[in-house]
Symmetry: C2
Subunit: 362 residues, 2 copies
């Protein structure tokens, strides 16, 4: 009976942890009193098994729970449901990590393009990649296209939609994509534009088709809003398309970011995962960011590496420090920090890309 392992961190006092660990194992599996179960196969295989409890001190315990792979149906949404569905409502439980056996992993081939695919797409050999964002929302397509042109003239590798750009009246998806793609063609650069997908799976499929017709080969979406199963369905339906993921609604304080934004998003097909860098607008600690980057890049079940994209209030002043922290297998995303240059946006973008290019040869 093949099992995956869900690893929780549970706040509890030492006397109560054994019972609490068992209750979580039941909550995340059969969700009923075990003494009311007759079926021997269910008792042996389906009921969650507490495999290990480690006291981490300060009333926090790491609890490893074995869950039957069969319960996931090898389906991304149900996998998330089994890992954390009900326990996401338990204040004392954080989903810390998960380990998957090969018979589950085979259902999730991971990124279509991955680190090498992104590097190749923009000709960024042996150096970190650069990224900026089209903002603010509320601007019409032509104005956003003008910003994209100046960012491209500055040599930015990837330009993503602000994750707030969806399919709004002031900037309809199809018109925005057409305008930005036209601007990038005009720039003569290899700059890659990632429009932001939103809505139901049907709406996202229609957006991908519109984008492909405009020559787009990378897109952005927020898996925790789209639904993990819909994200994965898109990745499989468009095997040559690259996907950058956004952490919106990740509620990352309840699911460890290295697991959700790193390992899980990579498994489901994220080529590049945006996350809040330490020392920015969000509360991630440096060790969280390092662990997240490692979850993206370390050898894992033969899956392509995905690219960590530290972001969230980054500025040009932090480029060297970020490169030192993340190394060259990364993508630096500076959005508002570049837009503050206003009329000198292309020059600010050029200074950003020059610094990253130089670091590649330091």
């Amino acid at each position: 009976m093949s099992r995956l392992t869900a690893i929780y961190r549970i706040r509890s006092d030492a006397r109560a942890i054994d019972a609490r660990a068992r209750s979580i194992a039941v909550e995340q599996s059969v969700e009923m009193p075990v003494d009311a179960i007759d079926d021997p196969a269910v008792l042996a295989d389906i009921v969650g098994q507490v495999e290990q409890i480690v006291d981490l001190g300060q009333d926090v315990f790491e609890v490893r729970v074995g869950l039957a792979v069969a319960t996931t149906g090898s389906e991304p949404g149900q996998l998330l449901n089994m890992l954390y569905g009900n326990s996401s409502i338990h204040d004392d439980v954080t989903l810390w990590d998960a380990e998957f056996p090969d018979d589950l992993l085979h259902a999730f081939p991971g990124p279509n393009r991955g680190l090498d695919g992104l590097r190749h797409r923009v000709g960024a050999a042996g150096r970190a990649m650069t990224c900026s964002a089209l903002k603010p929302q509320g601007l019409p397509p032509a104005t956003l296209a003008g910003i994209a042109l100046r960012l491209a003239e500055g040599g930015i590798d990837f330009i993503k939609d602000d994750h707030g750009l969806a399919d709004q009246a002031y900037s309809p998806f199809a018109r925005r994509v057409a305008a930005v793609q036209a601007a990038l063609r005009k720039s003569g650069r290899k700059t890659c534009y990632l429009p932001s997908l939103s809505g139901s799976l049907d709406q996202m499929v229609a957006q991908v088709e519109q984008a492909r017709n405009e020559g787009v080969d990378f897109v952005l979406l927020a898996p925790m809003i789209a639904g993990l199963a819909n994200f994965h369905a898109l990745v499989r339906a468009y095997p040559t398309m690259g996907f950058m993921t956004h952490p919106a609604m990740a509620g990352a304080s309840r699911i460890a970011p290295p697991l959700l934004l790193g390992k899980l998003f990579r498994l489901m097909g994220s080529d590049a995962t945006v996350f809040p860098n330490h020392g920015g607008r969000f509360g991630y600690a440096p060790e969280t960011c390092r662990a997240l980057a490692e979850a993206c890049r370390r050898p894992y079940a033969g899956r392509r590496p995905s690219v960590p994209v530290p972001a969230g209030g980054m500025t040009a002043e932090r480029i060297d420090e970020m490169l030192a922290f993340y190394g060259p297998d990364t993508m630096l995303l500076i959005g508002g920090g570049l837009l503050q240059a206003r009329d000198r946006l292309a020059e600010a973008a050029a200074a950003f890309t020059r610094r990253v290019a130089q670091a590649g040869h330091d």
Copy 2:
């Protein structure tokens, strides 16, 4: 310029709250330095506006932020993104409530069937409705159908799949639905079975079609796993189908349950919303449960009331107390607590339904 209001509760000291409130208003709207924005329309209409700050004491402040309706594209996923996308990653911010103007509400007609529709479906006039769950997962369709038959013989109004039942090898969706529906026909009761939908929107649509062919007219799903936009797309695509929602992955401690499981799920089309009752396996306070039930039932923009379904470790001993707390416009869900009766399941179910029926005439 029409605005919705997002209401946050923010942990902060009094000196810092003004700046923190402004930063959240920017985070949830333009997500860039405001001083880098030239466009007067964006500055006037799109940048989030702090409308009110109320000191709730103990370093908690309630902050009302006005956000442009236009930014939501009247689309459920993007609405959630605007309300809490990035701020879900801020530890100090809880999304507490939201208020929507008519030009946004018109996009979300709410439940297809609602309280009256559920009552009519099972002939439960003037009393609370009863519900139980098919468990544990791991059992084959025939065994689950046998449990359903005994619950129906006991007079249970609604039988839902355990939210862990998806489309697994040991109980494929189509075979499970066929077996349970056959058992319910055999029972001769009005008992209504709600199979659990899972997977991508395409997979859920296929499941709804299979279920409809078996005569199913109510289904269960977890909107925070399916994706709010996909849930709403299903509700609109099947205007005669009823939907019960499950709170899995709701991470409800970061989004106030009365807003997410009550108001938002109702707007998106939840006819009946399952939530953890106070005093069960989960940490909701009685006042949270009361507020959630009110969000389901109070008059709201002419939408049908949805039915609060308190659950999560309920037992027959609590029936009277729950009826006193929630009144008759509710559905009581007892799952494992009935299954503990084992061979006397039908009798236990009958005692449950008899008690609820009597209370209707007390």
